[in-house]
């Protein structure tokens, strides 16, 4: 409950406050969001498995975001930024979906 509220609160804050993102970082924002989503789904699954750990969650969240942004940044420098972001989105997407499936199995037993 509290996490959901926190998430919604964050979205509202982001939309309302319009924090200015440096132009250099702007291309990495969407990929960072996808990476962070992966960490969140992993955390929910761990919670349902009974092995959730807040420190692991925070560290995996931050490192996911940083690594995803770094990979895309590197790709941009090498001229394959678009392809690399596609790769990152595909891999993280697969993980998000299989975690979501695991969560669904656990919650609905189906």
């Amino acid at each position: 409950m509290i996490p959901a509220v926190a998430l919604v609160l964050g979205v509202v804050l982001g939309l309302a406050l319009e924090p200015t993102v440096p132009a250099a970082l702007q291309p990495y924002l969407p990929i960072a969001v996808v990476a962070a989503l992966d960490a969140v789904f992993g955390a929910i699954r761990a919670q349902l498995d009974g092995i959730f750990d807040d420190r692991v969650f925070v560290v995996s969240f931050v490192s996911n975001v940083l690594v995803a942004a770094l990979v895309v940044f590197l790709g941009d420098q090498l001229g394959v930024g678009g392809q690399l972001s596609t790769g990152v989105v595909v891999v993280l997407g697969i993980r998000i979906f299989s975690n979501a499936a695991a969560i669904r199995r656990r919650v609905f037993h189906a």
């Binding site: 509290i2 996490p3 926190a6 998430l7 919604v8 609160l9 964050g10 979205v11 509202v12 804050l13 982001g14 939309l15 406050l17 319009e18 924090p19 993102v21 702007q26 924002l29 969407p30 960072a32 969001v33 962070a36 989503l37 960490a39 969140v40 992993g42 955390a43 699954r45 761990a46 919670q47 498995d49 009974g50 092995i51 959730f52 750990d53 807040d54 420190r55 692991v56 969650f57 925070v58 560290v59 995996s60 969240f61 931050v62 975001v65 891999v91 697969i94 993980r95 299989s98 975690n99 695991a102």
Partner: protein
């Protein structure tokens, strides 16, 4: 393949399991299950802060994408509006010019209708106006209508990457007009633009300009002349053949119809600042200088 399999099967971060193992081995007092009560408040607050951060990240990204889109469409809409405004203004001015020309011809008729000399001049003006295309005319003739292919990009003969295939081009319109002149047309107008000896038909980008005015399809070419003869001669000539080729290769539809009473507007009298009749002095005073006292 092992990398992909790994991605598909090991979806949960290893460290969760590791931490759980180390916790249960270090202190079995707190079993690794759902007992957040034992945690200090600071540790349970951290994930919440992280989630707020994720929300803000998402919100900002969404806002940013929307702002960028709005920027692009706003600019385009602005330009489109400007084009519409200018076109409307130019239409208005053209209409006004036409009205004034009509007025001038009425006044001219009145002024010249009094004596024999005036009548002769009026007759001369009329025949000159007919020949030069500045006089609005009506009579029987044919109407040739050309249009772009229903789906310009995928016409049969279209070469990939050529957006002009499947569209009526300036050359097509030129061929039609020349074909009509050759078939004996006495007066021609394209989409209401009367053609004179100085009217150019040319392409600018994807638009076709007739007398510097951009026209959009369908192109309606009205030609006054002997309707039957015009139709036969035109379809038999190069213009007609070109239309038939365009129809079969590029799927450009066209129609040719006879009309009993076509009505063509007059064209604006062209400005000829340099040309003077041969045999007269080059610095002959112009008409309005003559008229001033």
């Amino acid at each position: 393949m092992s990398l992909l399999v790994d991605i598909m099967t090991n979806t949960l971060d290893e460290s969760y399991a590791e931490r759980a193992r180390s916790r249960s081995s270090a202190g079995p007092v707190e079993p690794a299950d759902r007992t957040p009560v034992a945690r200090p408040w600071r540790r349970s607050l951290l994930p919440v802060v992280v989630l707020v951060a994720l929300g803000m990240l998402t919100g900002t990204a969404v806002k940013q994408v929307r702002a960028r889109e709005a920027e692009g469409t706003g600019l385009r809409a602005d330009l489109a509006q400007q084009v519409r405004d200018r076109t409307a203004a130019s239409d208005e001015l053209a209409q006004r010019a036409q009205d004034l020309r009509d007025e001038v011809s009425v006044v001219q008729e009145q002024a010249l209708g009094n004596d024999a000399l005036g009548k002769r001049l009026a007759g001369q003006l009329t025949s000159l106006g007919l020949a030069s295309g500045t006089l609005a005319v009506r009579g029987p003739g044919i109407v040739v209508t050309l249009d772009d292919a229903p789906d310009p990009g995928t016409a049969d003969g279209a070469r990939p990457g050529n957006a002009l295939d499947g569209r009526v081009q300036d050359r097509d319109l030129q061929a039609v007009v020349n074909g009509l002149w050759a078939a004996g047309a006495e007066a021609i107008a394209v989409n209401g633009q009367r053609l004179t000896a100085l009217t150019a038909i040319r392409g600018a980008g994807e638009a076709v300009l007739v007398g510097l005015r951009p026209l959009s399809p369908p192109y309606v070419v009205q030609a006054i002349g002997d309707a039957k003869e015009l139709e036969v001669e035109f379809l038999d000539g190069r213009g007609g053949r070109r239309l038939i080729t365009n129809m079969s290769v590029y799927r450009l539809p066209f129609t040719v119809e006879r009309g009993d009473r076509l009505s063509l507007p007059g064209a604006a009298a062209p400005d000829l600042p340099a040309a003077v009749p041969r045999g007269t002095n080059a610095n002959v005073p112009s008409a309005d200088e003559e008229g001033s006292p």
